[in-house]
């Protein structure tokens, strides 16, 4: 077991000590071998740990289908062994179901709702875990087109925030700031979200940027919706600087930038960003982002002046 944990640490440094995806892609076959060996040895603790690395890597290199299967493995094992402390580490990844599961047409809506209820039962009633769960459930409703359910949940979250404000977690500070930003933005508390964002600006976030990235994307989108240009100008340079850290950005990370450039009237730059982003459309299976990207492409096409043909 000890040697396995040592190996796990070496995996971690080998895989993530790099600013490209190449180490990660290279690691996948090795990770699969170790996963199979751990499973065959019935070493549940190591099986979970290896999967934590796998989930991170697969998410980065767009191996979403395989990531979902491994997530389901974790969830299934959690259901069987809830008292096993080894499994708790992987649980934070299980909430990714909410974001991606609605993209699988072969998974029925009933099963998605049933799964959400099962995970609700696991997530407990502690302040942070409940908020984290609600936040992801809200995203799931939104992605499934269940806008009424999403709005109702948001109301409940707002009311709860007044009587029992969100507590800060004690995990990775950068990731926690990301979650707080996202949570406040969802609730429309943009000033609170900006306070969190400002904390981020003064921190070194190199290896961790994928943590707060989602929070920043959400906040930037909300600031764009409300045309809060000063705050946008404050955040955008930081965002651009860290966008490609530690790996290439997913398509949805490019969308606020394109919107910002269109809003600034910088159409050539917006077009350049669209060209760059077009390469990303097929990479991640993020249908929502792809739809929004196409809408922006169209908006840009319409706003670009057409030069009359010389007579």
């Amino acid at each position: 077991m000890d040697s396995n944990i040592t190996d796990y640490k070496s995996f971690w440094s080998d895989i993530f000590d790099d600013d490209t995806c190449s180490n990660m892609e290279r690691a996948i076959p090795r990770l699969r071998l170790h996963r199979d060996a751990a499973d065959a040895a019935n070493d549940l603790g190591y099986s979970v740990k290896i999967r934590e690395v796998m989930l991170m890597v697969l998410h980065h290199v767009d191996g979403l289908d395989e990531m979902m299967i491994e997530l389901l493995w974790l969830a299934g094992k959690w259901e069987q062994n809830q008292e096993d402390i080894h499994l708790s580490g992987g649980m934070e990844y299980v909430l990714r179901f909410f974001y991606y599961l609605p993209d699988y047409p072969a998974v029925s809506r009933d099963d998605i709702f049933a799964m959400a209820e099962i995970i609700r039962g696991w997530s407990g009633w502690r302040n942070r875990s409940r908020r984290h769960f609600d936040l992801n459930l809200y995203k799931m409703y939104d992605r499934m087109g269940e806008y009424q359910l999403a709005a109702e949940l948001l109301d409940i979250m707002r009311e709860r925030e007044v009587v029992e404000p969100l507590q800060r977690g004690d995990g990775c500070r950068v990731c926690e700031i990301g979650r707080m930003m996202e949570y406040y933005t969802m609730l429309g508390l943009l000033d609170n979200a900006m306070q969190e964002a400002r904390k981020l600006l003064s921190m070194r976030v190199n290896g961790c940027f994928s943590g707060p990235r989602v929070g920043l994307i959400t906040l930037l989108d909300a600031l764009l919706d409300h045309n809060r240009q000063e705050e946008l100008a404050e955040l955008i340079p930081f965002y651009v600087e860290h966008l490609h850290v530690p790996t290439r950005a997913p398509l949805r990370a490019m969308l606020p930038l394109i919107r910002y450039k269109i809003g600034q009237g910088d159409l050539p730059e917006a077009q350049e960003l669209v060209r760059e982003s077009a390469k990303l459309t097929g990479i991640r299976k993020d249908k929502t982002a792809a739809d929004r990207f196409r809408a922006l492409q169209e908006e840009l096409r319409l706003s670009t002046p057409v030069h009359p043909c010389p007579q």
Binding site: S22, E25, R26, I28, P29, R32, D65, E66, M68, I69, L72, W73, A75, G76, E79, L101, Y104, A106, V107, S108, D111, A114, M115
Partner: protein
């Protein structure tokens, strides 16, 4: 408002120097020799052509005593008051800044002697004239001055008696070792004597590797010999280094064996030929970890401890220019000694690959020498292109292993690009050279390159293929036929990624409840496809083509499919296990039935 002067606590300052600024009290030797060198430099400015000499005498008395002597510029009585009475004052600064001519400039060098002594005695006489002056400084912060009656030549003598606890530091052997360490490249002779014994020169003085013009064939062995001493092993080449202004020069020794990427090579850096550090990691770019450099600089600034370089804008400039020297040397080697270049690249390929990725011109030079593991052995790109103009590579080790034997048997070149930066290098190859097609392939692509059948051959096997298509439809597997070696293998199975995932889901099925299985099935879907390549060269396949027994053919196809899965190390699903069991039973039954039929009746 009345102003007051700060009071400086000398004991506190000494504690600061010994405990925090310097990494070791041994540096007092360097600091005192450095003062001597600067004094000689000052005298040479006044008297061009003057020959300076430094003497260090170590006396083994009850208390070890050292004398550092130089015939440099010396100090006048006024200068002694001005420079030796205040900490931080230095005769080597002009307008508050250090000059390029002197090593020291901080005004704290002499104080370092207090790390090993309680009293410094200095007798100095200026070459500018005036009487000799004796300065006696104590570690309690007091000093006295007198004018000795004896006659002294211009220059300076510093006397040190080891204080309690510092005796070992002042022993002759230690001092000699330190002199060799710090002063080896000083241009002035440094003479050492023990008690009243014979003086010997401790430093090499001549350092041809610090002058680019001295890299001549005659000096080659001397330069390489010094390199072997420095690296404590073989060196493959000695690369002259120089910044454009010539203020930083030296040599980079290419190490004779490969070094770990994790290890950072430490370089030896001299400041005006006095050793600054032999553990410097900043003066060369990180990618140059395959060389160990000896460098002398007069343009970079040391920190006050004189053990590291100051991190200003000059350091990156110097680093870049020195890095370019290494790069240019390797580029030039391509013309002058390609064999040596190939040897260096082979030995230090990790470093070379990293540099090539970031420098297109360097890439063009070295790419032809880089070797890649492939199905036709370890090959360079030109060697590979003797087999095929299209460069095919596979990144995934599992996939490469699946196709390796087949590709090897048929001489199909495929590079395994999993090592180091191979994948990026190969892709860059396609970007840099027009007309070179570089493709990342999968095993199915490789099967496409195997020999196809003639129309007649195809016509003969078509009925078998049609039947196989019917049988395999349920498994979303399409049959195809090729000729491949080894001919003992009747078929190979190549699933796409989605099919691999489906197989995994199937494998996990027994572990979970129907709910989770349904979710997994929903995620993995039913979209995977596979190809079953029948081998036309396999004897059994050929035999089966000729049989008209459709039932037997069906059994054959099912079992060949299962065998192909097993060859590919795929775990069998429940349907496939059933297929295997049924297929074997049916075959056995039909075999038994046949043997029953063939069995002669009793009594016949």
């Amino acid at each position: 408002m009345k102003t007051h002067n700060f009071q400086v606590n000398l004991e506190g300052v000494i504690s600061l120097l010994s405990g925090h600024l310097y990494s070791s009290p041994n540096v007092f030797v360097r600091e005192l020799v450095q003062n001597a060198v600067d004094a000689i430099t000052a005298r040479q400015k006044k008297e061009p052509g003057f020959k300076g000499v430094i003497r260090v005498q170590a006396m083994n008395a009850d208390v070890p005593t050292l004398v550092f002597e130089d015939n440099g510029i010396g100090l006048t009585l006024d200068e002694v008051h001005e420079f030796l009475s205040s900490i931080g004052a230095s005769s080597k600064r002009e307008n508050g800044r250090g000059t390029d001519d002197f090593i020291g400039q901080f005004g704290i060098g002499l104080l370092s002697a207090f790390m090993v002594t309680d009293e410094i005695v200095m007798i100095t006489r200026s070459a500018k004239g005036g009487p000799a002056v004796e300065w006696r400084g104590s570690s309690d912060g007091t000093y006295s001055i007198r004018l000795p009656e004896a006659d002294y030549e211009p220059g300076t003598k510093v006397f040190i008696r080891a204080k309690s606890g510092s005796e070992e530091l002042c022993l002759p052997l230690n001092v000699l070792k330190l002199l060799k360490h710090y002063c080896d490249l000083l241009p002035q002779p440094v003479l050492f004597s023990e008690d009243s014994g014979t003086e010997s020169v401790v430093n090499r003085m001549d350092a041809p590797f610090l002058d680019k013009a001295s890299f001549t064939p005659e000096n080659q062995e001397e330069i390489a010999g010094y390199g072997r001493e420095i690296v404590n092993g073989e060196v493959m080449a000695s690369i002259p280094l120089s910044t454009r202004n010539g203020k930083t020069t030296g040599v980079a020794y290419v190490l004779g064996s490969s070094v770990s990427l994790a290890r950072q090579t430490e370089h030896r850096v001299y400041m005006k030929r006095m050793l600054l550090s032999d553990e410097n990691r900043e003066i060369l770019p990180q990618w140059a970890f395959f060389v160990k450099a000896v460098i002398n600089t007069s343009e970079l600034r040391p920190t006050a401890s004189r053990e590291t370089l100051y991190q200003d804008n000059e350091l990156p400039r110097v680093r870049k220019q020195l890095g370019m020297c290494i790069r240019d040397y390797l580029v030039e080697l391509n013309q002058t000694d390609p064999d040596l270049l190939e040897k260096i690249i082979r030995t230090h390929r990790v470093s070379v690959k990293k540099l090539a990725l970031h420098d297109s011109e360097f890439f063009r030079i070295v790419i032809r020498y880089l070797r890649f593991p492939s199905t036709v052995g370890e090959v360079t790109i030109p060697q590979y292109r003797e087999y095929s103009q299209e460069i095919r590579h596979i990144f995934d080790e599992e996939m490469f292993n699946k196709v390796k034997n087949i590709a090897q048997s048929h001489g199909i070149p495929v590079i395994h690009s999993r090592y180091d930066d191979d994948r990026e290098l190969l892709n860059k190859l396609g970007e840099i050279y027009e007309g070179i097609a570089v493709t990342e392939v999968n095993p199915g692509d490789i099967m496409q390159h195997l020999e196809e059948l003639s129309p007649e051959e195809y016509a003969r096997i078509e009925p078998l293929l049609q039947l196989a298509a019917e049988e395999m439809e349920a498994f979303r597997t399409r049959p195809a036929v090729r000729k491949f070696q080894p001919s003992e293998i009747p078929a190979l199975h190549y699933p796409d990624e989605a099919m691999v995932l489906e197989r995994r889901t199937e494998h996990l099925k027994s572990q979970f409840s129907p709910f989770w299985n349904r979710l997994m099935k929903g995620v993995s879907g039913n979209r995977g496809q596979a190809v079953l390549y029948l081998n036309y060269d396999n004897a059994l396949v050929r035999q089966m083509m000729e049989t008209g027994d459709r039932e037997l053919l069906r059994h054959f196809i099912r079992l060949v499919y299962i065998q192909a899965l097993l060859i590919g190390n795929y775990q069998l699903g429940s349907r496939e296990l059933t297929l295997l069991t049924e297929g074997l039973s049916d075959l056995l039954s039909s075999g038994l039935g046949q043997s029953q039929t063939n069995k002669p009746a009793d009594g016949q």
